[in-house]
């Protein structure tokens, strides 16, 4: 199957449209081990390292892809697009302008934008993207989301390591969906048979910038922190809601995009806090790890109000900036201190 890669700082890119066009969507996540040197030729070091990692990835691998989509998320996606267009060679690049707002006016705009994207794909690749193709893609996508929901819900009950969860969220946005469904079913059977949530681990909710490399999740586990809820795009935002089964598939995608848990890039972002509070209440956990990647402005801006709002409600919260690096022992010390603080204040140790 042909691969359609996409650069998306949140969960904005409409995967189902490229699936309907016969492609396998693959989210570009960069490679922390490869660094950002290739992109640094075109982007300053004070830009988001994840975004630079994605451009480096594209510069190295675009020949393997059949198309690239860039979805409007933050300032990085908007203003780096021109550099992608100028320097990533040999593959058509498409821009999908998801709106910042979530009102009726924005919905009308987004519907036009999705229709335009569909038309451009048809024109570029001579493919058919009709109602049936879109509905089939939505059905497959919902199957993935539903299985991911079941898997994610086991984190609070079973011994599911942060790495295991990370691996599935990673596959969810990178593997061909038909193969993924089978893998998710097998994994679900495996996870259901696992032992109970381990004693000594502290359940937390993880929020903020997306975690794109497994070493960070391992670090949390090493510190005794187990992520049982999150609101990340490489996480619950991707599967918390399913796409409505309505007669008009384009409108269904619009509705889905506006109903999913908010990211910090959208305005208003108040419902982002509501989702976090709901998750904490539902799962009966009281600790939140809030973090943002260095130079990630939307989440750094949101932390200014979300962290006090959570603390004000009595939750244990730690916020910090992290670097784009696979090993960070200084961070381990801080994470362990956070766990100790939760313990001293009587936070939950296990479920």
């Amino acid at each position: 199957m042909k691969t359609f890669a996409y650069f998306d700082s949140g969960h904005e890119f409409p995967e189902e449209i490229v699936m309907a066009a016969g492609f396998s969507p693959m989210k570009i996540l960069g490679d922390v081990h490869q660094g950002t040197a290739a992109a640094d030729e075109y982007l300053f070091p004070f830009f988001c390292p994840f975004a630079r990692g994605c451009l480096s990835d594209a510069l190295a691998n675009s020949e393997k892809w059949d198309g690239i989509g860039v979805a409007h998320g933050c300032d990085a996606t908007d203003h780096h697009y021109d550099m992608w267009r100028a320097h990533v060679m040999g593959v058509p690049i498409f821009w999908v302008n998801t709106p910042m707002k979530i009102d009726q006016t924005a919905q009308i705009f987004y519907r036009k934008e999705l229709t335009r994207f569909i038309d451009n794909l048809i024109k570029q690749y001579s493919v058919k993207i009709g109602e049936n193709e879109l509905k089939d893609a939505i059905r497959l996508s919902n199957q993935v989301k539903s299985l991911m929901q079941q898997l994610a819900s086991l984190r609070a009950k079973k011994d599911i390591s942060n790495q295991d969860y990370f691996e599935m969220t990673h596959k969810a946005v990178q593997m061909p969906k038909e193969l993924l469904v089978e893998e998710l079913k097998t994994t679900l059977a495996d996870w259901e048979g696992r032992g109970p949530f381990p004693a000594g681990k502290t359940p937390i909710l993880l929020t903020g910038s997306d975690v794109t490399f497994v070493e960070y999740m391992e670090l949390l586990d090493t510190a005794g922190l187990r992520v049982v809820r999150d609101d990340l795009s490489l996480g619950e935002r991707y599967f918390a809601t399913t796409i409505p089964d309505t007669a008009d598939p384009v409108q269904a995608l619009v509705t889905y995009s506006f109903d999913m848990p908010r990211s910090a890039t959208r305005v208003p972002s108040d419902s982002r806090l509501e989702y976090i509070l709901g998750a904490l209440k539902d799962t009966k956990i009281d600790a939140v790890l809030s973090q943002n990647m260095k130079f990630c402005e939307p989440y750094a801006m949101d932390a200014v109000w979300t962290v006090p709002a959570l603390k004000g409600r009595g939750y244990h919260v730690m916020h910090f900036e992290r670097d784009y690096t696979p090993s960070d022992n200084q961070m381990l010390t801080r994470l362990e201190a956070f766990k100790e603080t939760i313990q001293q204040k009587g936070g939950r140790q296990n479920v």
Partner: protein, 456 residues
């Protein structure tokens, strides 16, 4: 509105508490050598903003750069512009402790220093003259320049429990076609109607189309006059340089009093016409090198620009100051006006996509007889810094002039390393010198070169 900002002190009480800071700020303001009429104009905005803030009946709105102020004026809402106050603090060179204070409040070191200056100044109770801003009755933000604007004012509105309207300006990327433009334009126009509804709800007033059109016509005239001044900067020597222009743009940017702005710009133009007609040799300064600047100014960098001038290098054109003039085209109907505004929101010279940005710079290099281009890679404004490496490569190739990238910050002096900058400027000047010699040699040997450059 009445006592919106209870903790904003008068300038006098601020002076009594912080005499050292006050004198330092005033001294740094004065060293810019701005003319009295311009200082008076700035002072007028500060005075009126304070008056509006303390009035029991006057509604006050805070807006971000790029927001269409005419709508506020049409509803008799006072336009408060916290960014301009932050810029003033920048000119006073007092921002560092304010920025550090904001960082102590949880704002990351990597976030916009305008925002941190404003937030810090408010929290420390600084008056509007020194970076403070009023608590507004409502807040307006747009992402036309950056996402930070919309997040910043959303945070402020949330903090003060006030209503907020965000305007979503779709980002124009290279390769955009007319079909995309039509979708973007419809979206912006629809939001302008939403904005009217929002203002009607907040003010309890009905939208008066005639009044609005009258205001738009005035802002168009204000922009026209402001831009006419740029013609005098093409002359050699130029009429004025960057340190003047960055304040000269206040009236057309903040639009608090369009009549006063029109009157001021008209007076300046008339004086300029007479001066050029009478004794052009007495205008400006000896210009060895004419520079273009891309990016926001270094507000704390008055000494830096003076140093440049001592070396005979003068900034005669900036995309940043030109972008402050919005209503460039005369319109007669509401729909036409809204369409025109939509076009302007996505075409300001500060935020051009690379397809338009590079040819635009190339054209201005010819228009203004530019010898060198400085690109300010602004750590506080990543959207404007994006693409600068490509601009440098292309302009050096196409225009055959040296291009210097300076990585600094518009208002955070911690990002300005004087020694490093000086070394790089010296090398840049040498390159311009060499470039001029080569051009002169070319002309003397019958080739082509820049006429203005060698006849200076």
């Amino acid at each position: 509105m009445s006592n919106n900002t209870p903790n904003m002190p008068s300038l006098f009480s601020f002076f009594r508490k912080n005499p050292g800071l006050y004198f330092r700020g005033m001294k740094n303001q004065l060293k810019q050598g701005l003319p009295m009429d311009l200082l008076t104009l700035m002072g007028d905005y500060i005075k009126k903003t304070k008056k509006a803030d303390s009035s029991p009946t006057q509604l006050v709105a805070n807006f971000t750069a790029g927001f269409p102020v005419e709508f506020l004026l049409a509803f008799d809402v006072w336009p408060g512009f916290p960014e301009s106050s932050a810029c003033t603090a920048g000119m006073c060179e007092i921002t560092q402790p304010l920025i550090e204070h904001a960082e102590g409040m949880g704002y990351s070191r990597d976030l916009c220093a305008y925002m941190k200056t404003s937030v810090g100044a408010f929290d420390k109770g600084y008056p509007y003259d020194f970076g403070g801003s009023p608590v507004a009755d409502m807040y307006f933000g747009t992402n036309g320049v950056c996402d930070t604007h919309t997040k910043w004012f959303e945070n402020e509105a949330r903090k003060h429990g006030r209503p907020y309207f965000a305007m979503d300006v779709p980002c124009v990327v290279s390769g955009s076609d007319e079909a995309r433009w039509a979708i973007d334009s419809d979206y912006i126009v629809a939001q302008l109607y939403d904005l009217i509804t929002f203002l009607e709800q907040q003010t309890g007033k009905k939208f008066d189309e005639e009044k609005f059109m009258n205001i738009v016509n005035k802002s168009q005239e204000c922009s026209r006059l402001y831009l006419e001044f740029f013609d005098y900067r093409k002359k050699i020597p130029a009429a004025e340089y960057f340190v003047f222009m960055r304040v000269f743009m206040y009236a057309v940017f903040a639009m608090w009093d369009l009549d006063a702005g029109i009157k001021y710009y008209r007076n300046v133009l008339e004086k300029m016409k007479k001066r050029y007609a009478k004794a052009p040799e007495k205008i400006g300064k000896p210009e060895k090198y004419r520079l273009m600047w891309e990016g926001i100014t270094l507000w704390y960098g008055t000494d830096f620009y003076k140093e440049l001038e001592k070396k005979g290098a003068h900034v005669v054109y900036e995309l940043y100051t030109e972008s402050s003039a919005f209503r460039r085209k005369k319109t007669s109907t509401l729909d036409e006006t809204f369409r025109q505004m939509a076009k302007e929101f996505t075409s300001a010279t500060y935020i051009l996509e690379q397809d338009r940005r590079i040819p635009f710079i190339e054209e201005k290099i010819k228009d203004y007889s530019i010898d060198g281009l400085i690109l300010h890679a602004n750590m506080s404004c990543r959207p404007s810094a994006a693409g600068m490496q490509d601009v440098k490569t292309e302009i050096e190739k196409r225009s055959k002039i040296p291009v210097l990238i300076l990585t600094c910050d518009m208002i955070d002096p911690r990002a300005f390393s004087e020694g490093q900058v000086r070394t790089r400027i010296d090398a840049f000047i040498e390159m311009m010198e060499e470039n001029q010699k080569q051009k002169q040699d070319q002309i003397l040997s019958g080739g082509t070169g820049q006429w203005q450059t060698i006849n200076r």
